[in-house]
């Protein structure tokens, strides 16, 4: 786990780009169309979901152990 993904549903338009182009299949789509982090441990922190999001609604930050404590 190298990255931590956060999704801002308020700006998300449910286009599915982040989920479709994640190279590690970290993201999946909920029943109502919003993306969610299904497999956080697989995230490499590459940031492709963030730079391809047309709505600036997804953020990848470097994962730090301290955040979990």
């Amino acid at each position: 786990m190298k990255g931590r993904v956060e999704i801002y549903e308020g700006w998300c338009k449910k286009c599915g780009i982040c989920t479709a182009f994640c190279p590690q299949d970290v993201l999946d789509t909920t029943g109502d169309g919003y993306p969610f982090v299904r497999a956080p441990e697989k995230c490499t922190g590459c940031g492709w979901c963030e730079i391809r999001c047309p709505d600036f609604a997804i953020v990848v930050s470097p994962y730090e152990e301290e955040q979990e404590k």
Binding site: K13, G16, D55
Partner: protein, 279 residues
């Protein structure tokens, strides 16, 4: 908040309503992110950038961004940009236009800005259709495509915008798709650095209208199409014209040196002097 998002937010106008106006999955949002990162990466200050647009979906882009911005009349963004560049050459002038704006109503301005080699950067969002007005065919709509103004198929062959501006004399011409976001960001950076008229043609998807006409129902499908049909300039050199049919050649297509319009103008002023009596 991460560095990238913090960066994007520092360039957005907080007074504007978000999410922005574009349809779900629209590539113009992806372009907006790439443009912001390219400007920031190359360390231009907000005050030295002037961002100008015409009318259409892409015309809304500068209204969201915290630079000196101008939202002008249909097709005339390049004329306003030329005026600004001549009045204050120290400014970095960027024009964002759609294909309807740049190649149809503003087609004449485009070729003459390229011919004069005005030192501005033109980003042309080519989504192959007039999106905002309801999906009418534009000069870049592929032959045979059904649109709201060509119900039985488009009768007109499409313009290749990059080749048009190359022939007209642009100093720098590059093309990318929005799928190739990192490449797009790099090409915008190179275009900003270039002295002279620099054009970046951005192949963008219009899910609402082109998606309907081509039976691709989502932004994801359309971006997969971009990925599968893009060919780098280097690879294109090894392919025949027939193999390149229907492909999108991406990368730097033209990079050459030529005197710019405002430099020539300044030389003229130095040569003949300024007549103050007329002021």
């Amino acid at each position: 908040m991460t560095e990238t998002t913090h960066l994007i937010h520092s360039y957005l106008r907080s007074s504007k309503r978000f999410p922005h106006v574009w349809c779900p999955g629209c590539g113009i949002g992806i372009l907006m992110g790439a443009l912001i990162r390219a400007i920031d990466h190359n360390r231009y200050s907000k005050d030295e950038i002037v961002l100008i647009s015409g009318i259409g979906c892409s015309g809304r882009l500068p209204t969201y961004l915290d630079f000196n911005t101008l939202h002008t009349t249909h097709g005339r963004a390049l004329t306003f940009a030329t005026g600004i560049k001549l009045a204050k050459p120290s400014l970095k002038v960027i024009v964002v236009m759609g294909d309807g704006d740049a190649a149809a109503i503003g087609g004449n301005h485009l070729i003459h800005a390229a011919r004069r080699n005005v030192d501005i950067t033109a980003i042309i969002v080519n989504n192959q259709i007039y999106g905002m007005t309801g999906g009418q065919s534009s000069p870049t709509t592929p032959l045979g495509m059904t649109t709201s103004s060509s119900r039985y198929g488009n009768l007109e062959p499409a313009f290749d915008i990059s080749r048009v501006v190359e022939a007209a004399g642009a100093a720098f011409v590059a093309r990318s798709t929005v799928y190739h976001t990192r490449l797009l960001e790099q090409l915008i950076g190179k275009a900003l650095h270039k002295r002279g008229f620099s054009v970046v043609e951005v192949i963008c998807h219009c899910v609402t209208h082109v998606g309907k006409a081509t039976h691709m129902n989502s932004a994801v499908e359309m971006m997969n199409w971009q990925r599968d049909n893009a060919v780098s300039v280097r690879k294109a050199g090894t392919l025949s014209a027939k193999q390149l049919e229907g492909k999108i050649v991406t990368g730097v297509l033209v990079d050459r040196e030529a005197p710019t319009f405002h430099e020539e103008y300044e030389k003229l002023v130095a040569r003949v002097g300024v007549d103050d009596s007329a002021v």
